[in-house]
Symmetry: C2
Subunit: 193 residues, 2 copies
DNA sequence: TTTTTTATTGACTGACCAGTCAATCAATAA
DNA sequence: TTATTGATTGACTGGTCAGTCAATAAAAAA
């Protein structure tokens, strides 16, 4: 039953199906057929809308990065005090939905993909730059060397995410956020301006 | 020209070829044929010695983890002072050879693989546990909460490696080690026992 | 109503690949 | 010398997959 205006619906469904399939298989080694089946359409339609597998992956990556970015912006909205902004940044990054198996899968595989796809590398570096810029901005009134502190905090966030994301499920994710917040306290105490 | 005693030579050659191929393609999506070609043997021989692709990957992972472990042990040998041991741990982790493109590739892909292969996950968690144990041990005489500090330092190390490993080449890798060392200074200053 | 556009797919192709197996060849042991 | 064992591969199989294309069907526009 072909209807007009299906394109955005199908694109969204195919991206969601891609995320689900990556999560289920834990790999980017998944087939367009499986994704299409999950989305309830034929493999040919996936090619029709995305042009190919690689572009479907990139759109999926853009989607996930977009969700993360929106979360961060929402967390920062209305938050003025630098300390509160730091906390918001950390908490947004460690929100439970980022630890859903399929999301972790997508992140890990995108890290790997960034080594072979310059488009993927560019997307990832946009996210990294934005996180660091946000951190620097919040740190500027608080520490002597905001750039270096931002670098370290970003590393702690990424490192803790890596660890928690890879850890066997059932683990407590508050842990990561707490560790990161303690680290920030250390930065503030150790290098107050 | 078949000779006796070839097995260890071929195994090593195939593992090296696997690393090289992962580095070249940036993916685990590589063929046994390509690996075997690189090692100068037939694909059948790779199956003969390793039994299959997955086992070849796991052996390669074990090899890389083993090199890392040996580097760390070498760096710690003869180093007694806790502070020096911390520094040795960091410097070993950020040694230039770990930033060779093919090694970074292997790490990133192993992270992703750990999500779908419990054998890979186990190997990775052995490495992670060992790093944390080493850090805790060195931190015990220096800070009030060695476990938490070790967790944070390990996160910084992993996070900085992720960032530096993914960053476009030409970047300066001293940077990562410096940032990590500064972080350690913060930990010691902020929570001296 | 006719034409055009959008959505959709079945069927196909060309290519590739992991893993198997029987056979070959050389060194070595009996 | 003969039998055995380890090293090695060519040839093959069963299966898979990305991407193409022409055709169909339903809306929408003319």
């Amino acid at each position: 039953m072909p209807k007009v205006g299906m394109e955005p619906i199908r694109r969204e469904a195919l991206i969601q199906a891609t995320i689900a399939e990556i999560g289920a298989k834990g790999t980017l080694d998944i087939t367009v057929s499986a994704i299409a089946r999950r989305a309830g359409v034929s493999p040919a339609l996936a090619h029709h809308y995305f042009g190919g597998k690689e572009q479907l992956f990139l759109s999926t990556m853009r989607y996930i990065l977009g969700v993360y970015g929106a979360d961060v912006r929402a967390a920062l909205r209305g938050t003025e005090a630098p300390q509160a902004r730091l906390e918001a940044l950390v908490l947004a990054g460690f929100a439970p939905e980022h630890f859903r198996r399929e999301v972790v899968s997508a992140w890990m595989n995108f890290y790997a993909l960034a080594l072979s796809s310059s488009a993927a590398a560019r997307l990832l570096s946009v996210y990294q730059r934005r996180l660091r810029a946000n951190l620097r901005h919040a740190l500027r009134p608080l520490v002597a060397d905001p750039a270096a502190a931002a670098e370290r905090i970003a590393a702690v966030i990424d490192g803790l995410y890596l660890r928690e994301g890879l850890a066997p499920r059932e683990t407590e994710h508050r842990h990561a956020a707490d560790l990161a917040m303690t680290h920030i306290q250390l930065e503030l105490k150790g290098a107050a301006q």
